[in-house]
Symmetry: none
Subunit: 225 residues, 2 copies
DNA sequence: AGAAAACTTAACTTTAGGTTAACCTTAGGT
DNA sequence: ACCTAAGGTTAACCTAAAGTTAAGTTTTCT
Protein backbone atom coordinates (compact mmCIF):
# COMPACT_ATOMS: atom_id res chain seq x y z
CA UNK A 1 0.00 0.00 0.00
CA UNK A 2 0.98 3.60 -0.53
CA UNK A 3 2.65 5.50 2.26
CA UNK A 4 0.35 7.09 4.83
CA UNK A 5 -0.36 10.73 4.11
CA UNK A 6 1.22 12.97 6.73
CA UNK A 7 -0.78 15.74 8.33
CA UNK A 8 0.57 18.55 10.47
CA UNK A 9 -1.82 20.24 12.91
CA UNK A 10 -0.93 23.63 14.34
CA UNK A 11 -3.03 25.09 17.13
CA UNK A 12 -2.28 26.79 20.44
CA UNK A 13 -4.83 24.69 22.31
CA UNK A 14 -3.65 21.24 23.24
CA UNK A 15 -7.27 20.06 23.42
CA UNK A 16 -7.86 20.78 19.78
CA UNK A 17 -4.62 19.12 18.79
CA UNK A 18 -5.63 16.03 20.73
CA UNK A 19 -9.02 15.97 19.08
CA UNK A 20 -7.54 16.33 15.60
CA UNK A 21 -4.85 13.77 16.27
CA UNK A 22 -7.31 11.25 17.58
CA UNK A 23 -9.66 11.57 14.64
CA UNK A 24 -7.03 11.65 11.96
CA UNK A 25 -4.94 8.80 13.30
CA UNK A 26 -8.09 6.74 13.52
CA UNK A 27 -8.39 7.25 9.76
CA UNK A 28 -4.88 6.02 9.22
CA UNK A 29 -3.09 9.31 8.78
CA UNK A 30 0.32 10.04 10.12
CA UNK A 31 -0.18 13.04 12.39
CA UNK A 32 2.28 15.50 13.86
CA UNK A 33 1.51 18.65 15.82
CA UNK A 34 2.87 22.01 16.88
CA UNK A 35 1.62 24.45 19.52
CA UNK A 36 2.40 27.66 17.69
CA UNK A 37 3.16 29.08 14.29
CA UNK A 38 6.90 29.19 14.71
CA UNK A 39 7.12 25.59 15.82
CA UNK A 40 4.68 24.71 13.06
CA UNK A 41 7.09 26.09 10.53
CA UNK A 42 9.95 24.12 12.00
CA UNK A 43 8.03 20.88 12.04
CA UNK A 44 6.76 21.49 8.53
CA UNK A 45 10.29 21.96 7.23
CA UNK A 46 11.46 18.82 8.92
CA UNK A 47 8.52 16.53 8.27
CA UNK A 48 7.41 17.78 4.85
CA UNK A 49 3.74 16.89 5.46
CA UNK A 50 1.16 16.40 2.74
CA UNK A 51 -1.39 18.61 4.43
CA UNK A 52 -1.30 21.25 7.13
CA UNK A 53 -4.18 22.30 9.34
CA UNK A 54 -3.57 25.77 10.72
CA UNK A 55 -5.55 27.58 13.36
CA UNK A 56 -6.10 31.17 12.26
CA UNK A 57 -6.18 32.58 15.76
CA UNK A 58 -2.89 32.00 17.49
CA UNK A 59 -0.76 34.27 19.67
CA UNK A 60 2.44 35.68 18.17
CA UNK A 61 2.49 34.28 14.67
CA UNK A 62 -1.07 33.68 13.51
CA UNK A 63 -2.29 31.21 10.91
CA UNK A 64 -2.18 33.66 8.03
CA UNK A 65 1.37 34.64 8.71
CA UNK A 66 2.43 31.05 9.19
CA UNK A 67 0.73 30.12 5.96
CA UNK A 68 2.52 32.83 4.05
CA UNK A 69 5.86 31.74 5.43
CA UNK A 70 5.18 28.14 4.61
CA UNK A 71 4.45 29.07 1.03
CA UNK A 72 7.87 30.73 0.87
CA UNK A 73 9.59 27.41 1.43
CA UNK A 74 10.29 25.70 -1.89
CA UNK A 75 9.78 22.19 -0.64
CA UNK A 76 6.40 23.15 0.80
CA UNK A 77 5.14 25.07 -2.20
CA UNK A 78 2.55 22.49 -3.03
CA UNK A 79 1.48 21.32 0.39
CA UNK A 80 -2.25 21.54 1.01
CA UNK A 81 -3.09 24.04 3.73
CA UNK A 82 -6.45 24.38 5.42
CA UNK A 83 -7.37 26.90 8.07
CA UNK A 84 -9.28 26.30 11.20
CA UNK A 85 -11.67 29.18 11.93
CA UNK A 86 -14.63 29.94 14.12
CA UNK A 87 -17.84 29.74 12.14
CA UNK A 88 -18.53 33.49 12.26
CA UNK A 89 -15.11 34.55 11.09
CA UNK A 90 -15.90 33.89 7.49
CA UNK A 91 -14.78 37.36 6.47
CA UNK A 92 -11.28 36.03 6.96
CA UNK A 93 -11.67 33.55 4.17
CA UNK A 94 -10.80 35.98 1.44
CA UNK A 95 -7.62 36.93 3.21
CA UNK A 96 -7.03 33.26 3.85
CA UNK A 97 -7.14 32.26 0.24
CA UNK A 98 -4.86 35.15 -0.59
CA UNK A 99 -2.40 33.90 1.99
CA UNK A 100 -2.34 30.61 0.15
CA UNK A 101 -4.95 28.45 1.83
CA UNK A 102 -6.70 25.66 -0.01
CA UNK A 103 -9.71 25.25 2.23
CA UNK A 104 -11.33 26.09 5.54
CA UNK A 105 -12.57 24.00 8.40
CA UNK A 106 -14.90 25.68 10.85
CA UNK A 107 -15.02 25.22 14.58
CA UNK A 108 -16.66 23.51 16.33
CA UNK A 109 -15.15 20.58 14.49
CA UNK A 110 -17.54 17.96 13.22
CA UNK A 111 -15.47 14.80 12.96
CA UNK A 112 -17.15 13.28 9.95
CA UNK A 113 -16.95 16.51 8.00
CA UNK A 114 -13.35 16.97 9.02
CA UNK A 115 -12.38 13.55 7.83
CA UNK A 116 -14.23 13.76 4.56
CA UNK A 117 -12.77 17.19 3.84
CA UNK A 118 -9.28 15.96 4.50
CA UNK A 119 -9.85 12.95 2.33
CA UNK A 120 -11.18 15.09 -0.48
CA UNK A 121 -8.29 17.52 -0.26
CA UNK A 122 -5.68 14.81 -0.28
CA UNK A 123 -7.37 12.97 -3.09
CA UNK A 124 -7.50 16.11 -5.12
CA UNK A 125 -3.93 17.11 -4.50
CA UNK A 126 -2.48 13.62 -4.37
CA UNK A 127 -0.26 12.94 -7.35
CA UNK A 128 -1.04 16.40 -8.67
CA UNK A 129 0.93 19.56 -9.19
CA UNK A 130 4.38 18.20 -9.83
CA UNK A 131 5.22 17.33 -13.39
CA UNK A 132 5.28 13.69 -14.27
CA UNK A 133 8.41 13.96 -16.32
CA UNK A 134 11.61 15.82 -15.85
CA UNK A 135 14.97 15.97 -17.45
CA UNK A 136 18.10 17.06 -15.67
CA UNK A 137 21.63 16.70 -16.92
CA UNK A 138 21.08 13.84 -19.32
CA UNK A 139 18.83 12.03 -16.90
CA UNK A 140 15.15 11.77 -17.67
CA UNK A 141 12.74 10.74 -14.99
CA UNK A 142 9.28 9.55 -15.87
CA UNK A 143 7.27 9.03 -12.73
CA UNK A 144 4.30 7.64 -14.53
CA UNK A 145 6.35 4.88 -16.08
CA UNK A 146 8.66 4.50 -13.12
CA UNK A 147 11.42 4.73 -15.63
CA UNK A 148 14.73 6.52 -15.80
CA UNK A 149 16.65 7.20 -18.98
CA UNK A 150 20.32 8.03 -18.89
CA UNK A 151 21.94 9.05 -22.18
CA UNK A 152 19.12 7.39 -24.05
CA UNK A 153 19.41 4.13 -22.17
CA UNK A 154 16.44 3.04 -20.16
CA UNK A 155 17.10 1.96 -16.62
CA UNK A 156 14.57 0.27 -14.38
CA UNK A 157 15.19 1.34 -10.81
CA UNK A 158 13.75 -0.42 -7.78
CA UNK A 159 11.17 1.48 -5.80
CA UNK A 160 13.30 2.95 -3.03
CA UNK A 161 16.05 4.00 -5.38
CA UNK A 162 13.52 5.58 -7.67
CA UNK A 163 11.89 7.45 -4.84
CA UNK A 164 15.22 8.67 -3.59
CA UNK A 165 16.12 9.90 -7.04
CA UNK A 166 12.79 11.64 -7.41
CA UNK A 167 13.21 13.32 -4.06
CA UNK A 168 16.73 14.56 -4.65
CA UNK A 169 16.04 15.65 -8.19
CA UNK A 170 12.89 17.49 -7.16
CA UNK A 171 15.12 20.31 -6.01
CA UNK A 172 18.46 20.02 -7.79
CA UNK A 173 21.26 21.55 -5.83
CA UNK A 174 19.34 21.55 -2.59
CA UNK A 175 20.82 19.53 0.21
CA UNK A 176 18.53 16.96 1.75
CA UNK A 177 19.50 15.90 5.23
CA UNK A 178 19.36 12.27 6.22
CA UNK A 179 16.41 13.21 8.36
CA UNK A 180 14.63 14.76 5.37
CA UNK A 181 15.25 11.67 3.34
CA UNK A 182 14.12 9.26 6.02
CA UNK A 183 10.98 11.27 6.63
CA UNK A 184 10.04 11.53 3.00
CA UNK A 185 10.78 8.02 1.86
CA UNK A 186 10.48 5.83 4.90
CA UNK A 187 8.13 7.91 7.05
CA UNK A 188 9.15 9.29 10.39
CA UNK A 189 8.09 6.27 12.39
CA UNK A 190 10.06 3.65 10.53
CA UNK A 191 13.54 3.14 11.87
CA UNK A 192 16.30 2.08 9.55
CA UNK A 193 20.00 2.20 10.04
CA UNK A 194 22.09 5.07 8.74
CA UNK A 195 23.95 2.88 6.28
CA UNK A 196 20.73 2.07 4.45
CA UNK A 197 20.62 5.49 2.86
CA UNK A 198 24.27 5.25 1.85
CA UNK A 199 23.64 1.97 0.15
CA UNK A 200 20.82 3.38 -1.90
CA UNK A 201 22.88 6.40 -2.81
CA UNK A 202 25.63 4.08 -3.86
CA UNK A 203 23.28 2.16 -6.14
CA UNK A 204 22.14 5.39 -7.73
CA UNK A 205 25.70 6.49 -8.29
CA UNK A 206 26.51 3.16 -9.79
CA UNK A 207 23.63 3.36 -12.20
CA UNK A 208 23.45 7.05 -13.00
CA UNK A 209 26.95 8.32 -12.51
CA UNK A 210 28.90 9.34 -9.47
CA UNK A 211 29.10 12.96 -10.39
CA UNK A 212 25.41 13.70 -10.02
CA UNK A 213 25.13 12.80 -6.36
CA UNK A 214 27.14 14.96 -4.06
CA UNK A 215 27.81 14.29 -0.42
CA UNK A 216 27.86 17.20 1.97
CA UNK A 217 29.56 15.66 4.90
CA UNK A 218 27.76 16.11 8.17
CA UNK A 219 24.71 17.48 6.37
CA UNK A 220 23.29 15.27 3.67
CA UNK A 221 23.14 14.70 -0.04
CA UNK A 222 22.26 16.69 -3.09
CA UNK A 223 21.61 16.05 -6.72
CA UNK A 224 23.37 18.10 -9.38
CA UNK A 225 23.51 18.16 -13.15
CA UNK B 1 -24.79 -4.59 -10.85
CA UNK B 2 -22.76 -2.83 -13.48
CA UNK B 3 -20.04 -0.55 -12.26
CA UNK B 4 -21.20 2.94 -11.34
CA UNK B 5 -20.42 5.52 -14.00
CA UNK B 6 -17.82 7.95 -12.75
CA UNK B 7 -18.35 11.67 -13.17
CA UNK B 8 -15.78 14.37 -12.67
CA UNK B 9 -16.99 17.89 -11.85
CA UNK B 10 -14.65 20.82 -12.30
CA UNK B 11 -15.64 24.20 -11.00
CA UNK B 12 -13.96 26.92 -9.01
CA UNK B 13 -16.93 27.37 -6.72
CA UNK B 14 -17.18 24.82 -3.95
CA UNK B 15 -20.93 25.47 -3.69
CA UNK B 16 -21.55 24.34 -7.23
CA UNK B 17 -19.39 21.27 -6.72
CA UNK B 18 -21.38 20.42 -3.62
CA UNK B 19 -24.64 20.83 -5.47
CA UNK B 20 -23.51 18.68 -8.36
CA UNK B 21 -22.04 16.05 -6.08
CA UNK B 22 -25.17 15.85 -4.01
CA UNK B 23 -27.47 15.44 -7.00
CA UNK B 24 -25.32 13.03 -8.90
CA UNK B 25 -24.44 10.81 -5.96
CA UNK B 26 -28.13 10.62 -5.17
CA UNK B 27 -28.57 9.15 -8.64
CA UNK B 28 -25.96 6.52 -7.97
CA UNK B 29 -23.01 8.03 -9.77
CA UNK B 30 -19.49 7.94 -8.50
CA UNK B 31 -18.50 11.59 -8.26
CA UNK B 32 -15.12 13.23 -7.99
CA UNK B 33 -14.33 16.93 -8.10
CA UNK B 34 -11.63 19.46 -8.76
CA UNK B 35 -11.49 23.16 -8.00
CA UNK B 36 -9.65 24.29 -11.09
CA UNK B 37 -8.76 23.24 -14.58
CA UNK B 38 -5.28 22.06 -13.78
CA UNK B 39 -6.40 19.88 -10.93
CA UNK B 40 -9.26 18.70 -13.08
CA UNK B 41 -6.80 17.42 -15.62
CA UNK B 42 -4.85 15.57 -12.97
CA UNK B 43 -7.92 13.97 -11.48
CA UNK B 44 -9.21 13.04 -14.91
CA UNK B 45 -5.97 11.29 -15.76
CA UNK B 46 -6.03 9.42 -12.49
CA UNK B 47 -9.69 8.51 -12.22
CA UNK B 48 -10.50 8.07 -15.90
CA UNK B 49 -14.11 9.21 -15.50
CA UNK B 50 -16.89 8.41 -17.94
CA UNK B 51 -18.12 11.97 -18.05
CA UNK B 52 -16.68 15.34 -17.16
CA UNK B 53 -18.63 18.47 -16.26
CA UNK B 54 -16.51 21.57 -16.82
CA UNK B 55 -17.29 25.10 -15.84
CA UNK B 56 -16.41 27.43 -18.70
CA UNK B 57 -15.59 30.37 -16.47
CA UNK B 58 -12.64 29.52 -14.26
CA UNK B 59 -9.57 31.52 -13.29
CA UNK B 60 -6.25 30.53 -14.82
CA UNK B 61 -7.11 27.60 -17.03
CA UNK B 62 -10.69 27.93 -18.21
CA UNK B 63 -13.06 25.21 -19.30
CA UNK B 64 -12.23 25.47 -22.98
CA UNK B 65 -8.55 25.13 -22.40
CA UNK B 66 -9.04 22.28 -19.97
CA UNK B 67 -11.27 20.53 -22.46
CA UNK B 68 -8.71 20.84 -25.21
CA UNK B 69 -6.02 19.41 -22.97
CA UNK B 70 -8.21 16.54 -21.91
CA UNK B 71 -8.79 15.64 -25.53
CA UNK B 72 -5.03 15.41 -25.99
CA UNK B 73 -4.81 12.53 -23.56
CA UNK B 74 -5.20 9.20 -25.33
CA UNK B 75 -6.97 7.47 -22.48
CA UNK B 76 -9.51 10.29 -22.32
CA UNK B 77 -10.12 10.64 -26.04
CA UNK B 78 -13.63 9.34 -25.77
CA UNK B 79 -14.78 10.69 -22.44
CA UNK B 80 -17.98 12.72 -22.59
CA UNK B 81 -17.45 16.35 -21.74
CA UNK B 82 -20.18 18.85 -20.99
CA UNK B 83 -19.72 22.50 -20.21
CA UNK B 84 -21.40 24.49 -17.52
CA UNK B 85 -22.29 27.99 -18.70
CA UNK B 86 -24.47 30.88 -17.69
CA UNK B 87 -27.63 30.97 -19.76
CA UNK B 88 -26.71 34.11 -21.64
CA UNK B 89 -23.26 32.99 -22.64
CA UNK B 90 -24.55 30.88 -25.46
CA UNK B 91 -22.20 32.53 -27.91
CA UNK B 92 -19.53 30.41 -26.29
CA UNK B 93 -21.17 27.23 -27.46
CA UNK B 94 -19.68 27.33 -30.90
CA UNK B 95 -16.21 27.66 -29.47
CA UNK B 96 -17.11 25.02 -26.95
CA UNK B 97 -18.03 22.41 -29.50
CA UNK B 98 -14.84 23.20 -31.34
CA UNK B 99 -12.86 22.60 -28.19
CA UNK B 100 -14.36 19.15 -28.04
CA UNK B 101 -17.45 19.45 -25.88
CA UNK B 102 -20.38 17.08 -26.23
CA UNK B 103 -23.06 19.14 -24.58
CA UNK B 104 -23.90 22.17 -22.48
CA UNK B 105 -25.61 22.60 -19.17
CA UNK B 106 -26.77 26.08 -18.28
CA UNK B 107 -26.71 27.77 -14.93
CA UNK B 108 -28.72 28.07 -12.78
CA UNK B 109 -28.77 24.32 -12.59
CA UNK B 110 -32.13 22.61 -12.62
CA UNK B 111 -31.57 19.30 -10.92
CA UNK B 112 -34.05 17.23 -12.86
CA UNK B 113 -32.75 18.51 -16.15
CA UNK B 114 -29.18 17.96 -15.08
CA UNK B 115 -29.79 14.37 -14.15
CA UNK B 116 -31.70 13.51 -17.27
CA UNK B 117 -29.09 15.10 -19.49
CA UNK B 118 -26.33 13.16 -17.78
CA UNK B 119 -28.28 9.96 -18.14
CA UNK B 120 -28.88 10.59 -21.81
CA UNK B 121 -25.27 11.42 -22.48
CA UNK B 122 -23.99 8.34 -20.75
CA UNK B 123 -26.53 6.14 -22.46
CA UNK B 124 -25.60 7.58 -25.82
CA UNK B 125 -21.87 7.27 -25.30
CA UNK B 126 -22.07 3.80 -23.85
CA UNK B 127 -22.57 1.50 -26.84
CA UNK B 128 -21.26 4.14 -29.22
CA UNK B 129 -17.66 5.22 -28.79
CA UNK B 130 -15.28 6.01 -31.54
CA UNK B 131 -11.92 4.36 -31.59
CA UNK B 132 -12.50 0.79 -30.57
CA UNK B 133 -9.41 -0.77 -31.97
CA UNK B 134 -5.77 -0.51 -31.13
CA UNK B 135 -2.61 -2.29 -32.00
CA UNK B 136 0.49 -2.38 -29.87
CA UNK B 137 3.49 -4.59 -30.31
CA UNK B 138 1.93 -7.40 -32.30
CA UNK B 139 -1.19 -7.35 -30.17
CA UNK B 140 -4.41 -6.03 -31.62
CA UNK B 141 -7.28 -5.14 -29.36
CA UNK B 142 -10.80 -4.69 -30.63
CA UNK B 143 -12.89 -3.40 -27.78
CA UNK B 144 -16.11 -3.63 -29.69
CA UNK B 145 -15.75 -7.29 -30.47
CA UNK B 146 -14.03 -8.14 -27.23
CA UNK B 147 -11.38 -9.73 -29.34
CA UNK B 148 -7.63 -9.89 -29.14
CA UNK B 149 -5.29 -10.95 -31.89
CA UNK B 150 -1.69 -11.92 -31.21
CA UNK B 151 0.55 -12.50 -34.22
CA UNK B 152 -2.50 -13.02 -36.39
CA UNK B 153 -4.07 -15.53 -34.06
CA UNK B 154 -7.37 -14.63 -32.50
CA UNK B 155 -7.68 -15.13 -28.78
CA UNK B 156 -10.92 -14.95 -26.85
CA UNK B 157 -10.25 -13.42 -23.47
CA UNK B 158 -12.68 -13.51 -20.56
CA UNK B 159 -14.11 -10.20 -19.40
CA UNK B 160 -11.81 -9.41 -16.50
CA UNK B 161 -8.70 -10.36 -18.40
CA UNK B 162 -9.84 -8.29 -21.33
CA UNK B 163 -10.57 -5.27 -19.18
CA UNK B 164 -7.22 -5.58 -17.52
CA UNK B 165 -5.52 -5.73 -20.88
CA UNK B 166 -7.46 -2.73 -22.15
CA UNK B 167 -6.55 -0.77 -19.06
CA UNK B 168 -2.87 -1.54 -19.13
CA UNK B 169 -2.57 -1.06 -22.86
CA UNK B 170 -4.44 2.25 -22.74
CA UNK B 171 -1.19 3.82 -21.64
CA UNK B 172 1.69 1.58 -22.64
CA UNK B 173 4.65 1.98 -20.38
CA UNK B 174 2.69 3.63 -17.63
CA UNK B 175 2.67 1.85 -14.33
CA UNK B 176 -0.74 1.08 -12.90
CA UNK B 177 -0.78 0.47 -9.19
CA UNK B 178 -2.85 -2.30 -7.73
CA UNK B 179 -5.09 0.43 -6.42
CA UNK B 180 -5.49 1.89 -9.90
CA UNK B 181 -6.37 -1.48 -11.26
CA UNK B 182 -8.85 -2.29 -8.53
CA UNK B 183 -10.51 1.09 -8.92
CA UNK B 184 -10.84 0.84 -12.67
CA UNK B 185 -11.89 -2.75 -13.03
CA UNK B 186 -13.57 -3.73 -9.83
CA UNK B 187 -14.74 -0.31 -8.65
CA UNK B 188 -13.84 1.71 -5.63
CA UNK B 189 -15.93 -0.18 -3.16
CA UNK B 190 -15.52 -3.83 -4.12
CA UNK B 191 -12.93 -5.68 -2.11
CA UNK B 192 -11.00 -8.51 -3.66
CA UNK B 193 -7.83 -10.12 -2.47
CA UNK B 194 -4.47 -9.03 -3.75
CA UNK B 195 -3.75 -12.37 -5.36
CA UNK B 196 -6.71 -11.97 -7.67
CA UNK B 197 -4.89 -9.40 -9.72
CA UNK B 198 -1.81 -11.59 -9.93
CA UNK B 199 -3.84 -14.46 -11.23
CA UNK B 200 -5.33 -12.36 -14.00
CA UNK B 201 -1.94 -10.99 -14.89
CA UNK B 202 -0.65 -14.52 -15.02
CA UNK B 203 -3.39 -15.54 -17.43
CA UNK B 204 -2.58 -12.60 -19.66
CA UNK B 205 1.10 -13.45 -19.63
CA UNK B 206 0.26 -17.02 -20.44
CA UNK B 207 -1.86 -16.04 -23.41
CA UNK B 208 -0.08 -12.99 -24.73
CA UNK B 209 3.51 -13.46 -23.73
CA UNK B 210 5.40 -12.84 -20.56
CA UNK B 211 7.51 -10.07 -21.91
CA UNK B 212 4.68 -7.61 -22.43
CA UNK B 213 3.61 -7.43 -18.82
CA UNK B 214 6.19 -6.04 -16.49
CA UNK B 215 6.04 -6.06 -12.71
CA UNK B 216 7.33 -3.09 -10.79
CA UNK B 217 7.64 -4.57 -7.38
CA UNK B 218 5.99 -2.54 -4.68
CA UNK B 219 4.36 -0.33 -7.27
CA UNK B 220 2.28 -2.15 -9.86
CA UNK B 221 2.24 -3.46 -13.39
CA UNK B 222 2.82 -2.03 -16.80
CA UNK B 223 2.29 -3.08 -20.37
CA UNK B 224 5.10 -2.75 -22.88
CA UNK B 225 5.66 -3.61 -26.51
C1' DA C 1 -31.19 -27.88 -13.83
C1' DG C 2 -26.65 -29.15 -15.21
C1' DA C 3 -22.38 -28.13 -17.32
C1' DA C 4 -18.96 -25.09 -18.49
C1' DA C 5 -16.59 -21.04 -18.05
C1' DA C 6 -15.07 -17.35 -15.36
C1' DC C 7 -13.67 -15.58 -11.16
C1' DT C 8 -11.88 -15.63 -6.44
C1' DT C 9 -9.42 -17.54 -2.77
C1' DA C 10 -6.22 -20.10 -0.05
C1' DA C 11 -1.91 -22.15 0.72
C1' DC C 12 2.32 -22.46 -0.64
C1' DT C 13 6.82 -21.18 -3.15
C1' DT C 14 9.85 -17.97 -5.12
C1' DT C 15 12.37 -13.85 -5.55
C1' DA C 16 13.60 -9.07 -5.93
C1' DG C 17 14.54 -5.66 -3.17
C1' DG C 18 15.74 -3.86 1.11
C1' DT C 19 18.49 -3.97 5.31
C1' DT C 20 22.30 -4.83 8.05
C1' DA C 21 26.81 -5.89 9.84
C1' DA C 22 31.53 -5.60 9.40
C1' DC C 23 34.93 -3.55 7.58
C1' DC C 24 37.37 0.18 4.76
C1' DT C 25 38.14 5.01 3.18
C1' DT C 26 38.22 9.83 3.42
C1' DA C 27 37.40 14.65 4.71
C1' DG C 28 38.29 18.03 7.70
C1' DG C 29 39.33 19.72 12.29
C1' DT C 30 43.24 20.34 15.52
C1' DA D 1 50.40 15.25 9.60
C1' DC D 2 47.46 12.89 12.47
C1' DC D 3 43.02 11.34 14.34
C1' DT D 4 38.33 10.80 14.33
C1' DA D 5 33.79 10.62 12.89
C1' DA D 6 31.10 10.50 8.88
C1' DG D 7 30.50 8.23 4.88
C1' DG D 8 31.54 4.22 1.38
C1' DT D 9 31.56 -0.62 0.18
C1' DT D 10 30.48 -5.38 0.06
C1' DA D 11 28.13 -9.34 0.59
C1' DA D 12 25.19 -12.05 3.37
C1' DC D 13 20.73 -12.18 5.15
C1' DC D 14 15.77 -11.32 5.65
C1' DT D 15 11.24 -10.13 4.28
C1' DA D 16 7.31 -8.44 2.04
C1' DA D 17 5.51 -8.76 -2.39
C1' DA D 18 4.56 -11.33 -6.33
C1' DG D 19 4.10 -16.00 -8.69
C1' DT D 20 1.87 -20.38 -8.81
C1' DT D 21 -1.40 -23.94 -8.49
C1' DA D 22 -5.36 -25.96 -7.52
C1' DA D 23 -9.51 -26.02 -5.19
C1' DG D 24 -13.68 -23.71 -4.22
C1' DT D 25 -17.50 -20.23 -5.83
C1' DT D 26 -20.18 -17.81 -8.70
C1' DT D 27 -22.01 -16.76 -13.12
C1' DT D 28 -23.49 -17.83 -17.62
C1' DC D 29 -25.13 -20.60 -21.15
C1' DT D 30 -27.69 -24.31 -23.13
Amino acid sequence: MAKKPKILCVDDEQDILDLLTFNLEKEGYDVCTALNGKKGLEVAKRELPDLIILDVMMPEMDGMETCREIREIPSLQNVVITFLTARNEDYSQIAGFEAGADDFITKPIRQRLLVSKIKALLRRSGPAEVKKEMSIGGIEIDREKYLVTKDGVQIQLPKKEFELLVLLSSAPGRVFTRENILNSIWGNDVIVGDRTIDVHIRKLREKLGDENFKTIKGVGYKFEA
